[in-house]
């Protein structure tokens, strides 16, 4: 059956009634207190994680419920998010990879048609969805608040919709709120029980400002439901047992540069260091140290000669030149890869580099290069991160 993992469904009564919330004003209806505590208990007992540990990348840690996979565009964020999902599912967890993108990248890799806002199964134990702010808004009002009429009459009205689409931060808040919903209320309301939500938000600039959104919205002097929503989302982000950031980079120059800026900014916005940094498309494990100049590499000359013999004479020069170009780029990647952990530690003000995980470039590995293979290989590299105790 396609669809999210289900457990014995038990509706814990209706979610708070709107009118009551309004009457009770800022105190809400008293439901907020339990949510945080329930989560603490669930994580504390259900997953056997110790509480009160130092949950920083540098101390070795366990992954929390919600993992945000951050990084600049083109570093393979979605691949790593999928691989993390596969690695968690391989341990028997029920996992949701939540994307926020124009097009669902994951389902196709697993041979499925594109997912919508509704989670769909793409592998055993692994679901994915493609976040839609509008659907999320509908769920919030209709499924959660049971305010179908209000939703139809007010929220869906053209004018309000225009407002919610354009208001800065609103869609981001809905996005964060959805992770909170998925890991708390949806358990009761929809019978969903995910052990892990891997979040694949949009690229760097956007992905980063995401964590600042509830705080920014809070400065609007809001009251009412939105204020409660912000507070709950902020509580989720503040809690190291419930959320963490994982940073993805590649050994490309720009990616490294931006990751060294991104990691400390994430640490500042979230109040703690990223849980790990994945270096995707790593080359050093397969190629070893490469001398910087093509002329200094013995095997490259041999390769060039043999390839040139195979082709025709006019091509020989172009082939050698092409090989040299690929070589130079790879030699630089290998050098950057070697220097990266120490540079990352410096950028985070940490004493030493830990929590850096290399995922080999799929092209360097003997295999068919299909997305599923690449994801499986990446999942194997990420296995230490999801094992109890986390990255060491």
């Amino acid at each position: 059956m396609e669809g999210p993992a289900r457990t014995a469904t038990g509706r814990r009564g209706r979610a708070a009634d709107f009118a009551q919330r309004v009457r009770w004003g800022r105190k809400g209806c008293g439901g907020e207190r339990e949510i945080g505590e329930e989560i603490g208990e669930e994580i504390g007992h259900g997953h056997g994680l110790g509480l009160g540990l130092g949950f920083a990348m540098w101390e070795g840690m366990a992954l929390p419920l919600v993992v945000y996979v951050l990084g600049k565009g083109g570093v393979g964020r979605s691949t790593i998010a999928a691989a993390l999902g596969v690695a968690c599912a391989a341990r028997g967890e029920r996992v949701l990879v939540m994307q926020w993108a124009i097009a669902d990248a994951l389902s196709g890799w697993f041979g499925r048609s594109a997912a919508t806002h509704e989670p769909q199964a793409i592998a055993p134990g692994l679901d994915t969805m493609c976040f839609s702010a509008e659907e999320s808004l509908r769920e919030y009002f209709v499924d959660h608040l049971k305010l179908g009429l209000f939703y139809d009459a007010v929220v869906r009205s053209r004018h309000v919709r225009r407002f919610t689409r354009a208001a800065p931060g609103f869609e981001e808040l809905m996005f964060l709120g959805h992770q909170m919903y998925l890991t708390t209320l949806a358990r009761d309301e929809r019978g969903w029980a995910y052990d892990r939500v891997v979040v694949d938000p949009p690229a760097l600039g956007h992905g980063l400002s995401l964590f600042g959104v509830p705080r920014a919205v809070a400065t609007f002097g809001l009251g009412g439901l939105l204020r409660e929503e912000c507070a709950r989302v902020q509580a989720m982000l503040d809690d190291a047992r419930r959320s963490a950031a994982l940073v993805v980079t590649t050994p490309e120059e720009l990616a490294i540069e931006e990751t060294l800026e991104l990691a400390p900014r994430v640490a500042a916005e979230l109040g703690r260091a990223p849980v790990a940094c994945v270096v995707n498309r790593a080359a050093s494990a397969r190629l070893g140290a490469l001398p910087p100049r093509p002329s200094e590499c013995a095997w490259l000359a041999t390769l060039g000669e043999r390839a040139a013999v195979a082709g025709c004479d006019e091509d020989a020069g172009a082939v050698r030149e092409g090989l040299a170009r690929v070589y130079v780029a790879l030699a630089r990647r290998v050098a950057r890869e070697a220097a990266f952990p120490a540079a990352l530690a410096r950028s985070l003000g940490a004493p030493s580099a830990r929590g850096v995980i290399a995922v080999d470039d799929g092209l360097l590995v003997d295999g068919d290069g299909a997305p599923a293979t690449v994801i499986a290989q990446a999942a194997a590299a990420l296995a230490p991160l999801v094992a109890d105790g986390g990255a060491r």
């Binding site: 097009a103 208001a167 949009p202 600039g205 390769l303």
Partner: protein
Amino acid sequence: MRTRLTLLLGGGGVGKTTLAAALGLALSSSGRRVALLGVDPARRLQSALAVGELPELGRALPHPSGGELRAAVLRPEETLRRWVADACPDDATRARLLENAFFLALADRLAAATDAIAAARAAEWAEREPDLDDLVVDTAPGLAAVELLARPEKILAFVDGRLIRWIRRLASPFGSHRLLGRGRQKLLDNLSALSGADALRAFGEFISLVENSLDTMVARLERARRWLRHPSTELVIVTAPRDDSAAVAVALAGAARALGHAPRLAVVNRALPDALLRAAPALADAAPTAEAAAFARFVAGDCRAQARVRAALLPLFPSVRALPEAADLDADGPARLAALSAIGAQLAAALADRALARGHV
């Protein structure tokens, strides 16, 4: 619109910024007056051009062949503050606005609206310098860049909405709730329940305060919207010879088309030479060591990817061009600028071909 607009779109790290700088250099070398606008927050345009900090308003660059090239990097917060300062009638209003919580949040959190600011900024540039021949815009990486095409409508909808007008009235000293009529009053009551009445009032005040600057921005967004739809405007989709960036290119083309734009040119940047593509399949057998074998796999994989990328793009674009990596881009000073300009000339030629193909010269 006299000025020709060229936007470069594509995934991260495909070399959009380098190509934008290259195109700017090449066009200005041929005697055109060119402006370059970098939207990428990483300020790569500065490093691509090997110049220091570019001011928000832009500045003329020293040009290797005496051409006219100006460049600016978008700083949405600074731009917005400048527009607001321009539009505020007096210092007191400006001071009040700069303290408004919504304005602070908006100025702080413009990440989401960067593309709208970019569109309005582009229109402003053409307005201030009507003699410009070309404006080249290097967009932010990834699919989000199509927001630049979509946002004008989104932002217009936002400030034009009737809801906003009601909220504006709420904040005005004479606009009591009673004037709104019962249905609207109910709507506002419900919104108050959602967000609190104080927030609505603060928002209303914010809207009234920024009214003047919004009007200017709306006018510019309208102009940008028309400009983006003008036949002389080119959307160039840039990809690396890799599947992931090609997927972004395909999605960008689809998203742009859904918004009524038709990108005509796709560029496969840093393409490998055809000779290597032909030799690649035999490489693995020629590898003397394990490292060489891994390297040969990598090269063969790169070559296969390049062929796949080409095949994926060909049905979607009237023109797909491969641009080789310039050998001298790592050099400093004049050699680098010359290498950039040479690449830019190839891109300009590809664009000119497109213009000829549809009868626009």
